[in-house]
């Protein structure tokens, strides 16, 4: 059973790595080997299952057509060590045809949401979270309801709890 699970995960990871955007791959490879850099990728069924467990009912509907998710966290110290900046990476995203959808800044946390249009219903999304000590990059591919992106995304800070 363990072998079966391992092979399923491995298959998932391999197919995921093939679907990564150039920007994500560049970002991940730039910091690989640095201290406290964490990376994970999940594909299709696993991604949706985890998202459904982690999110509320309304979001469940929005994520049902997500095909894969990748995440990497990099401490700011690694940026300094590599002599690169978040702004520089944003320029790389633009070169890789990622367009900015929204930006939000609150409590020293900058969140930028990008889209790379591929097919009509199969876009690639990138979320860049720039915090004082760590930068998180999340990439996911598939169809996401823009209505949900707006409601649960950068504007939600404005709503009273």
């Amino acid at each position: 059973m363990k072998t079966f699970i391992a092979s399923v995960i491995l298959t998932g990871l391999i197919s995921t790595s093939l679907a990564q955007s150039n920007s994500f791959t560049t970002f991940r490879e730039k910091f690989s080997g640095e201290d406290d850099v964490h990376h994970f990728s999940i594909n299709g069924f696993f991604a949706r299952t985890i998202l459904r467990l982690a999110t509320e009912d309304e979001m469940n509907e929005a994520v049902k057509e997500i095909k894969n998710i990748r995440l990497v966290t990099v401490p700011k110290a690694a940026f300094e060590k590599q002599k690169v900046t978040v702004e520089g990476f944003k320029r790389e995203l633009k070169k890789d045809a990622f367009e900015e959808l929204a930006f939000a800044k609150e409590h020293k946390e900058n969140i930028t949401l990008y889209i790379q249009s591929t097919l009509k219903h199969d876009n690639r999304y990138m979320v860049l979270i720039d915090e004082p000590y760590v930068v998180t990059l999340v990439e996911f591919r598939g169809k996401v309801d823009p209505d949900i992106l707006l409601k649960n995304g950068p504007l939600s800070f404005n709503k009273p709890q």
Binding site: A102, A104, L113, H121, D147, L150, N158
Partner: protein, 182 residues
Amino acid sequence: MKKIIAAVVLMLVATGGFAQDAISKFFSKYQADETFSQVTVSSKMFGLFTNMDADTPEDKEVLNAISKLKGLRILAKEDARNARELYKEAFTLIPMKDYEELLSVRDKDKDMKFLIKESGGKISELIMIMGGTKDFMVMTLFGEIDLKQVSRIGKKMNVEGLEKLEKMNQPDKSDKQPEKKN
């Protein structure tokens, strides 16, 4: 001659940049201030709504209205002691001669003003300025704006305050209609 052309081009570029939206000056002044929150939504985000399927004719109208928007910017400060001062300052930084007042709301703990910019019979910008005892917010929505749909758009985007415009759209459908006829 070249210098004149260069100067004119430079002036146009400069004024074009500043005239992008009314709260640009406010953004420039406070964007580096960590106590402020800010949000920018691009036209690309609004454009995504053009591909969406609507369940009802009402939804279709809202989606159509959203897809015509070109951008949204918000600058806000919560738990601000100087919220009232910021509210007043907003009016000094916004070129008021370009805008008409659409609606003014005074609640017990906050003031709100909605301003619009009209060109060619169409509303190209809507500004909402809110100043309370503790909170301040200035928002600008630009593009082709359908006022009838703005309160619904506000609900879709979770923007607090835009629901105030709902009353303006439906004066006759109110259940109570307290001050319908003067």
